[in-house]
């Protein structure tokens, strides 16, 4: 083999802060941009609340672009530990090398660190989040024996979906009370149509029909569906339609099958599709 395996230290963990050069498309549905800017200027961490696919991640990308800060995104999962965020020692050659985790990296770079779906992470992550999220703004790196002081440009942002009713996945009050919370909902009908058109290039009648379809599925929340169709799913369906997939096929694959496995529910959603198109 000609190519040697890159040194471990370069390959793993070193999450590059992403600098966003071109403006990510985002439509404001209220005063969230002003709120976020004010929170950023005041060095207050931000909690984004809202259902899946309503634009939380896009919003944070847009804000990172607007504030000209690099963005470090961490998708949290149930095995994510504090060490995964802060960093750990690795061995290269015959030496041990400290490698920053994404959170430490973001603090050093003065980036925006976005912890997506933070309730999924292990509970011990709060140990590193708490001192960083209050007025101390420090990141204790116990193993490395370092106490990182966050620069004024650094911002911690978390997202959280309060719609999941699981008692095992709740944000503790001591955590959530450190954050400025911004509530996200699905955009209003007109705005959602505009988003679909811009994202997919679909015509306005297709976009309007998709929004109506979405509203019908959202009416079924807690009547068999855990969540209605998100804006993201609508964009997916619209993209398929623009590519020439017949609308009922596109909606069945991109929306109905994404929402449920129950045959009766799928049938009902297909009936919605045949009604709105």
């Amino acid at each position: 083999m000609a190519t040697k395996i890159a040194p471990l230290a370069r390959k793993s963990l070193q999450t590059e802060a992403r600098v966003i050069d071109s403006e990510p498309y985002y439509e404001s549905g209220g005063n969230e941009i002003a709120l976020f800017e004010a929170a950023y200027a005041s060095q207050l961490p931000v909690l984004l609340k809202g259902p899946t696919g309503c634009g939380k991640t896009r919003f944070i990308e847009h804000m990172a672009w607007k504030l000209k800060r690099p963005l470090v995104t961490v998708s949290c999962h149930d095995d994510l530990t504090a060490a995964d965020l802060v960093g750990r020692y690795l061995i290269t050659g015959n030496e041990t090398v400290w490698v920053d985790g994404p959170l430490a990296h973001a603090v050093r770079a003065g980036a925006i660190c976005y912890l997506d779906e933070v309730v999924e992470a292990r509970r011990d992550t709060t140990v590193v989040i708490h001192p960083l999220a209050d007025d101390r703004r420090i990141l204790p790196m116990e193993k490395h024996g370092e106490l990182l002081q966050a620069p004024p440009e650094f911002l911690l942002v978390m997202s959280y979906n309060p719609g999941y009713q699981s008692v095992l996945k709740e944000l503790k009050p001591s955590t959530r009370q450190r954050f400025v919370a911004i509530d996200f909902r699905y955009p209003g009908a007109g705005l959602e149509e505009k988003i679909i058109r811009t994202e997919s290039g679909a015509d306005s009648s297709t976009a309007a029909a998709l929004v109506r379809l979405a509203h019908m599925t959202r009416n079924l929340k807690d009547n068999g569906l855990d969540e209605g169709a998100s804006t993201r799913l609508l964009v997916h369906a619209a993209k398929l339609i623009v590519r020439g997939v017949p609308s009922h096929n596109a909606c069945h694959s991109a929306i109905a099958e994404a929402l449920s496995d129950d045959p009766e529910m799928l049938h009902a959603i297909d009936e919605f599709v045949s009604s709105v198109f």
Binding site: G30, D79, A83, Q165, S166, L168, A189, T217, E271, V276
Partner: protein
């Protein structure tokens, strides 16, 4: 070998015995027996057995059945016969003896309507059509059967079978069209004019009513075409040419029900309503339901806005939350749908979901938000607090908890803003086990669902998880090895915990189910509660979570009762099953004391997550003991806050449609859920539990 057919004499004897109350000298069992004598034994038994069943409902109906049975066997098999019998019994329950008997007498009409490849029945498609109706924007609609389709704006009444068109798909579409039309009647303001009064002015009000329904449907079809073009395409296939001028005129965007009334005036006497497969009726009963809702929602909106105003109370503004400051701006969009914006002074406010649903519902009824809806509603809080007279005789209590199984609990008095010490006496006792076949029949009826839940719950049972830094294990833990290596380098000893091991995670969870045994659960609700418990227990056994079940009820503060159904340390065995079967409705719902007692029990269990799930059918309530209303709500809320302080998570599953008014206040915005159909409770409770603890 098949048993030989019953003889004429035996049949006469059996029929005489079964139908005795409706037989006379002029109407004897003889002719019935003669018809049945020619049938094979299996069919004879079928007829006799069902005749006996129907006599328990009505003797005359049973007679009609026996008289038509042999003719029916020529056209139907036993399965179809059963559907026929059930339909007749349902019709009897709903519309009385005449209509019920009619189904038995008109065998041909029934078989034509239901036996064939093109027939679509509402019952079979109830779930899909129910979801379809639910998805149409607007208020929640339920489905029921009626001979003629109509709606009271909350329930859509649809025919039990549709077979008017040659294929199943087309007939299914008729159901969709009917649902869309009936939904549109509410959505696009058909009831904003007094239709009954308008028709009463014509020589033949029935004829006028039918014609008006048709004309109004033409207008609604245009509305539907704007939002549901797929359905409008199906409707277009059923057009009759005679009404074209009327149709095109009513298709304009801004037409209202008043335009339909003008067309009625023009066309009455000239044309009659065509007999279309999707014709609907307009009924006067609708007005009653509508009036009641309008009144209810005015109160609800005032309450909701008062709460919202309180929430948005700014510091500069010391006045209590005053809904006067709200404005609702209504605009119509291109589709004719009303949209609105809620404004507090000049700033737009995002309305919470229940508020926007409420405003939307009012807009559907009235087309606007009347001025007086937004004025001086601060005092119209719906909780009646006037009845609280807290100096009722008999306090303070001097009894102690010495009596075995008796406990004393404090109660929160919201007026005093303090506890009443040892105010409630609570007794704990076992539910009397019932030795009947309830458990067996539930297990049989829900077998597929139970198997499914067991499988789902087994999967929840804690996935494999890698335990790191183990002394014994089957894989190397590289993280441990690396840090061990570092230790070694810096002169320390290499640790011995360098391996990883797969391990099933323990779900360290204890659940206490608190079952409403108040008198209001009598009948259906009690059955559904018991079935739900059986289902949940079966599923929980697969999951292995620790759980206990207690019922609660009582009369006055001196007799709060807690009924043991299953303790935490009891296995789910026959005794527990019989206790579940033995759950019977008792008295009232004094919830505070019950929650405090069960909190105490749950607090004694060692678990990381403790859940208190309440299964309820309504607000806290008690017998003439000023517990009703604000006092009971606030005491319950306080008891729940106490529970949360000890680390218990309360959750409530309710079937009360008004739950939205008080449960968020008690349990918080997400820690409760509404099961809107009692029949769905057994399946939903297990499902809710799964979601809650996944």
């Amino acid at each position: 070998m098949a048993a030989s057919a019953l003889s004429m004499a035996t049949l006469v004897g059996r029929l005489d015995y079964l139908l005795n109350p409706v037989l006379s000298t002029r109407r004897s069992a003889g002719p019935l027996a003669r018809q049945l004598a020619s049938l094979p034994r299996a069919q004879q038994d079928f007829v006799l057995q069902w005749t006996e069943v129907i006599t328990r409902t009505n003797y005359e109906l049973a007679y009609q059945f026996a008289a038509s049975a042999s003719a029916a066997f020529e056209k139907m098999d036993m399965q179809a016969m059963e559907a026929w019998i059930i339909a007749a019994l349902d019709t009897y329950d709903r519309e009385g003896l005449h209509s019920g008997s009619e189904i038995f007498r008109q065998v041909d009409a029934w078989t034509q309507a239901t036996v064939g490849n093109q027939v679509v029945s509402l019952e079979r498609n109830m779930n899909i059509l129910g979801l379809f109706a639910c998805g149409l924007s607007g208020r929640k609609l339920s489905l029921d059967t009626a001979a003629e389709p109509w709606t009271d704006t909350e329930t859509l009444y649809l025919p039990a079978h549709i077979s008017a068109l040659p294929t199943r798909a087309e007939n299914f579409n008729i159901y969709k069209i009917l649902i869309a039309l009936l939904w549109a009647q509410g959505r696009y303001g058909s009831f904003q004019a007094d239709l009954a009064a308008a028709c009463a002015g014509y020589p033949d009000p029935v004829r006028a009513g039918a014609l008006l329904s048709h004309i109004e449907n033409l207008r609604l079809e245009a509305c539907i075409a704007r939002v549901l073009p797929g359905i409008a395409r199906d409707m277009a296939k059923l057009h009759v040419p005679a009404f074209e001028e009327c149709r095109s005129n009513l298709s304009k965007a801004a037409t209202t029900v008043n335009h339909s009334l003008q067309w009625l005036q023009r066309l009455y006497g000239i044309m009659d309503a065509p007999r279309l497969p999707h014709r609907t009726a307009l009924r006067t009963e609708t007005l009653v339901v509508r009036e009641a809702r309008i009144k209810r929602e005015q109160g609800e909106l005032a309450q909701a806005l008062a709460e919202l105003a309180h929430e948005y109370k700014t510091e500069a503004d010391n006045a209590d939350g005053n809904p006067d400051r709200f404005r609702i701006e209504v605009a119509k969009n291109a589709e004719g749908d009303a949209t609105f914006e809620l404004k507090l002074e000049q700033t737009p406010v995002p309305p919470p979901e229940h508020v926007s649903r409420l405003i939307d519902s009012i807009l559907q009824d009235l087309g606007e938000i009347p001025e007086d809806y937004l004025q001086s509603a601060t005092d119209s809080g719906r909780y009646d607090s006037s009845a609280v007279d807290e100096n009722a005789p008999g306090n303070p209590r001097d009894e102690t908890e010495s009596e075995t199984g008796t406990y004393l609990y404090n109660e929160w008095d919201c007026k005093r803003r303090n506890y009443r010490k040892n105010w409630c006496t609570l007794r704990e006792s076992d539910v009397q086990p019932a030795d009947n076949d309830f458990v067996a029949s539930t297990l049989a009826a829900y077998r597929p669902q139970i198997i499914r839940f067991r499988r789902i719950f087994e999967m929840l049972r804690g996935e494999d998880r890698m335990l790191k830094r183990q002394a014994i294990g089957d894989e190397i833990d590289f993280d441990a090895l690396v840090s061990g290596h570092i230790d070694l380098k810096s002169g320390l000893e290499l640790p011995d915990r360098l391996l990883m091991r797969r391990h099933k995670t323990e779900r360290d969870l204890a659940v206490l189910l608190m079952i409403d045994m108040s008198g209001s659960t009598k009948g259906w609700i009690n059955d559904a509660e018991r079935e739900a418990l059986i289902m949940l227990c079966e599923a929980l056994e697969a999951l292995g979570d620790r759980y206990a079940i207690y019922g609660f009820s009582g009369v006055t503060r001196k007799r709060c009762e807690i009924y043991r159904i299953k303790r935490f340390d009891e296995p789910y065995d026959d005794t527990v099953r019989c206790r579940i079967a033995g759950i019977e409705p008792q008295d009232y719902t004094r919830m505070g004391a019950a929650i405090r007692h069960l909190t105490r029990l749950l607090d004694g269990v060692d678990a990381r997550t403790k859940l208190l799930i309440t299964l309820s059918d309504g607000k806290p309530d008690d017998y003439s003991d000023h517990y009703r209303g604000e006092y009971g709500i606030e005491d319950t809320r306080q008891a729940l806050i106490e529970a949360q302080r000890t680390g218990i998570k309360p959750f409530c599953i309710t079937i009360d449609h008004e739950a939205r008014d008080y449960l968020p206040h008690l349990y918080g915005p997400v820690n409760w859920t509404l099961v809107d159909d009692v029949r769905k409770l057994p399946v939903q409770v297990a499902d809710i539990y799964r979601r809650l603890t996944a």
